[in-house]
Subunit: 199 residues, 4 copies
């Protein structure tokens, strides 16, 4: 835990780890506080509740994720390079922070379907996904403008592609694929999206 961070970031960063490792329910405020080298009460100085903290962690990670992705995608000018950059960057982020970035994206399913959460909480939980999918949609739109993709149903495809990409990266990590294998799968993924797997 870096020293220079302010308390809020310390907590966010610690909570990020603990939530990722243990999931929302099995992460305890105590553990998060200890891990952040902070008193238990301090957490409640910065966040209203455990759920609020979780949501902020989500936003925090998504923000960092989006920033990085956007920076990479923005520097490309063609559909193909954008898509490849996106996939590469996504995989890279997951690799770096397997523990928390990746899980952050799956972890919430449990919460989203939980009838005990407030409508507001649900909305926030679901909105994080929307932002990510939007980037993909933007890239696909470029593809369409370039004449590479047919333009209909792009939002549907974007949504599905995010799932594919995510699963692909996760698989890679879980099966501990080599760098080369990862590159191959990146290609497979792009081809699958554009050309399908038909012969």
């Amino acid at each position: 835990m870096a020293r220079v961070k302010n308390k809020r970031d310390q907590i966010l960063s610690s909570a990020s780890e603990i939530f990722a490792i243990n999931g929302y329910h099995d992460a305890s405020i105590n553990e998060i506080a200890d891990n952040a080298n902070v008193g238990k009460g301090t957490i409640y100085e910065y966040f209203d509740s455990k759920m609020t903290l979780y949501i902020e962690v989500l936003k925090y990670n998504i923000e960092r994720y989006l920033t990085r992705i956007r920076n990479v995608v923005i520097s490309e000018s063609t559909f193909n390079s954008m898509l490849e950059s996106y996939i590469g960057c996504h995989t890279e982020i997951l690799k770096e922070n397997f523990k928390y970035a990746g899980i952050m994206m799956n972890n919430s399913a449990d919460l989203i379907f939980n009838s005990k959460n407030s409508q507001e909480t649900l909305k926030i939980l679901m909105d994080t996904r929307v932002e990510v999918v939007q980037i993909i949609l933007d890239i696909l739109t470029v593809g369409h403008n370039e004449g590479q993709l047919s333009g209909s149903n792009l939002d549907y495809y974007a949504d599905l592609f995010f799932e594919m990409l995510n699963r692909s990266a996760l698989r890679s990590l879980m099966m501990q694929h080599s760098e080369e294998q990862q590159l191959i799968e990146k290609d497979l993924l792009v081809k699958m999206l554009i050309n399908g797997i038909g012969q």
Copy 2:
């Protein structure tokens, strides 16, 4: 709750509902016992722990799911009909049991990444997926034998396709798409798999 079931099935069936509605953590043994019309202690006669029960519920649901899917797929003879049957049946099951079948599949992500679960539990949790993906792989293999699909990396594609299908069905349900819209999306999904979205 049907009367003829034995106690074990009563519990399994009840737990299935409750876990689905509330998620693993917010489902309580009490609620499950009440819903199953058995005593709380009885659950522990049949299952070692809440987690054990959860895993058995998972197996139980997967078994029912697999049986149904297999019955449908087996009665088809071509790749195309198999695939369409599969998608249709999957969507149907999700629709019927949105509450529990569908969620069951997402619910576990939270648990799979949870470091507090035993290695053994993790393995069981993950294995359920493998069985489902195997069916898809079998169908794709038929597609290859028919000469419709190129044969390489089929296991990779099967894995990804399951994710796509799942997401597509979930989207449909969450957005409350009409029957026609669902049929359209079924076609989109097949086309996307076989031909990609390239122009």
Copy 3:
């Protein structure tokens, strides 16, 4: 703590002591459970919350108080003997259970004025007093029927008299008056009520 009591009474009895000694807020569920030789969770098997427990303790004590008072008063037939029996019995009860009977009657003021309590809770809290005052009103009515008291404003007087009596008994106990002194004060109280302190 007697052994024969059922758990609920054990808890009620223990809570009665602890609430009396420490007041509502400074009584902890832990302490009550320990004092009742019961697990902390057991308390929640019988009572919904600390406040519910408190209210039940109140009712429990008031009930015992009322029963005793009524038994004594009912066996008398004249206003004078009724009043004296009442005062005697009230003082006796307070003496026996100074720790909890007496305090029970004052303890709640804090809660009644507390804006954070629900309307329902408030009502229950206040109703306990009403029942006690009713007995006094009944006695005063007898006095009126006997021609000893003028009949107007009896409810007002009953209300005030309860306060006087309570204070008188409390004074006695706090100043540790002797038996004789207590008898004298009983007379003073009756005289004060009937004749006033005018010369």
Copy 4:
């Protein structure tokens, strides 16, 4: 909150309000500090602890109460006028500050019986009452000197009368009696004290 007050009085005044509204336990230092427009730490510059602050608030209020009462009583020269002035003034104060003056007097019962308070605290808590009762005793003594009251047990009667008066005023406020009704009850109270309710 007047501007000229020094910090200590600002705190005292604020605490007075908050304690009255919420009771000792549910009043928080935070709320008191905010309400006083001072920092939380500042409170501890002037008062050792929450309990110390509470006691000082009590003293502060009693002082203001006593001053007002004395000013009114002192300007009268006969027992009757003194008594009526006293009752009138007391009721008025309660009416004006129902929120805090009145409750202050009941609020403490909870604390007085609380075994967790130090002996010293208890003494201070109880002494505040003594001062008030003394005024009544002084008035009754005047009554005796005028030949209106018999002189024995005046301290006992004074003590009880304070209780009656307090209850009467509280009743009035809680039942939202009209001005006239209040005047009637003032008379009833005096008559009850001097002549009793006998016929």
